[in-house]
């Protein structure tokens, strides 16, 4: 049934659930009596009257958005099934495309790394930390899940403002939010944590006033999906990492556990990202 009525049910019947799950004798209480009596049936009839009349209208437009029961952000807002399925398909296609591009960049990076080593012979410590094609996350379901999370983050006013206010070349690791790299191998927890911290950081660009928000939503929805990919792929690009001090990403793999433990304080992450220096 619709989320609303489901929630309604679970809260209304939460006592029953408790009995069911952990009560030592679910039968001794209302349940068994309900079986031969009216109490239970009556309640069920109530539910019955209520549910069907409720969902057609009350259902939130984004009721099929996965991963959460609550009304969700503007992703997956389109409520017609045809579009939903097409969006899903498009997302998969984009992920595939990204995968190819990312792989190419990694290969290019590996190659030029070797070149440089030959010429200068000094970059050995760095080299071992660069991701290689073998360490790439290729599980489609994982990538899709991550892409969705990223899209949720990017589909915000804050992100939009951030992108406008801070051009890419001015962003500094540790200070500015950086989209987590979906192609790296991370534990589920580590990834979710990175996303969380990234979103926390993005909130710094939340628009100041509340009015006019609804108006802007539509515009934002239009822009995102595509240029999103572009920004993300920027991550592993080699030149940037060479001429800036942005070693932060190299540190991420072995910081996984640290991040897992640091329960969501943004300041800590800034710290971890700075440590290599």
């Amino acid at each position: 049934m619709s989320f609303r009525s489901r929630n309604g049910r679970s809260s209304a019947d939460s006592k029953e659930y408790e009995n069911r799950n952990c009560g030592p004798s679910p039968w001794s209480q209302c349940r068994k009596r309900g079986a031969d009596g009216n109490l239970r049936n009556k309640r069920e009839e109530d539910n019955n009257d209520e549910k069907p009349s409720k969902h057609p209208d009350d259902r939130p437009a984004n009721f099929t958005t996965p991963e959460s029961d609550g009304p969700l952000s503007r992703c997956g807002r389109q409520s017609d099934w045809g579009s939903q399925v097409e969006n899903e398909e498009a997302l998969i296609k984009d992920v595939h495309k990204d995968m190819h591009r990312y792989r190419r960049r990694l290969l290019a990076a590996e190659f030029s790394q070797r070149e440089r080593k030959n010429s200068s012979g000094s970059s050995d410590s760095r080299e071992s930390l660069l991701p290689t094609t073998g360490e790439m996350e290729t599980d489609e379901s994982v990538l899709l899940r991550r892409q969705k999370q990223i899209n949720y983050g990017k589909n915000t006013l804050a992100y939009d403002r951030y992108v406008k206010e801070v051009p890419k070349h001015l962003r500094q690791p540790g200070i500015h939010p950086k989209t987590p790299n979906k192609f790296k191998k991370y534990s589920r927890r580590s990834w979710d944590q990175q996303i969380k911290l990234w979103k926390v950081k993005l909130h710094a660009w939340d628009p100041p006033a509340q009015d006019g928000q609804e108006k802007d939503l539509n515009d934002i929805e239009e822009l995102d999906l595509d240029d999103v990919m572009d920004i993300e792929l920027d991550f592993p690009s080699l030149p940037e990492s060479l001429n800036s001090t942005s070693l932060s990403r190299h540190t991420v793999p072995f910081l996984e556990d640290v991040q897992d433990d640091c329960a969501g304080t943004p300041s800590k992450v800034m710290k971890t990202e700075d440590t290599p220096e």
């Binding site: 099929t64 017609d80 939903q84 398909e89």
Partner: protein, 222 residues
């Protein structure tokens, strides 16, 4: 599924003209009005219980053919739109014709089973399908053998897939089934048997043990 002839899409029940339309849609999708084809299929599914059980196959083939021919999705879009329209008025459908309601549920579940995106179930349909099945598990519906039969058929076919994409709602559904089985005295013995079978079926990982199978089906099979 249980059909042997691969090319048999059960379209014999259509009038000759429509049969032709469908045949062309299967071969040369871009040469026909695919929205009309979708409408024809949906309409027939709502009337014809036999067709609704297998309509997913023909839909799947048309979808594939359309993608292959011009990378289009006109047919699927129309199909889903129609499904959604009917979904929003499902209570009215049920009130006005149980048979049509059962056909609808059979059809949407069959589409869920056959049409995949990237080999995964279409996310958009997960909750609607659950909504339908949960409706079939409500106390008033459990009194209807037609609805119980339908529910059981659907769980046999797509229960495991559904549980994989959303286990929580499957739990919710099975709370209802247990409640019905235990507490609803007015349920007939046949329906009760089916419910019990479902409980065992899911508990066994969407399989029946051979003994259970014998118990539930020995009477039926010759």
């Amino acid at each position: 599924m249980e059909m042997s002839a691969k090319e048999d899409y059960k379209i014999q029940s259509f009038d000759p003209e429509t049969q032709n339309l469908l045949k062309t849609a299967l071969k040369e999708p871009s040469s026909v009005d695919l929205e009309k084809v979708a409408d024809v299929i949906v309409d027939q599914s709502l009337k014809d219980q036999v067709f609704s059980k297998e309509a997913g196959r023909i839909c799947y083939t048309i979808v594939q053919a359309e993608v292959k021919q011009n990378n289009g999705s006109v047919f699927r879009r129309r199909l889903l739109t129609r499904l959604q329209q009917e979904f929003t008025v499902r209570e009215e459908i049920r009130a006005h014709s149980l048979q049509e309601w059962v056909c609808y549920v059979t059809f949407i579940c069959n589409i869920f089973d056959y049409l995949k995106v990237n080999n995964m179930p279409m996310v958009a349909l997960v909750h609607p399908v659950y909504d339908c099945l949960l409706r079939l598990a409500q106390p008033d519906a459990l009194l209807n053998e037609e609805e119980v039969n339908c529910l059981v058929l659907q769980l046999h076919r797509i229960g495991d897939q559904l549980e994989k994409v959303n286990g929580q709602r499957m739990d919710e559904l099975f709370f209802l089934l247990r409640d019905g089985f235990l507490l609803q005295e007015s349920i007939g013995s046949m329906a009760r048997l089916l419910l019990l079978e479902m409980l065992e079926f899911r508990a066994g990982g969407w399989k029946l043990s051979s003994t259970a199978n014998k118990y539930y089906y020995s009477e039926l099979s010759d």
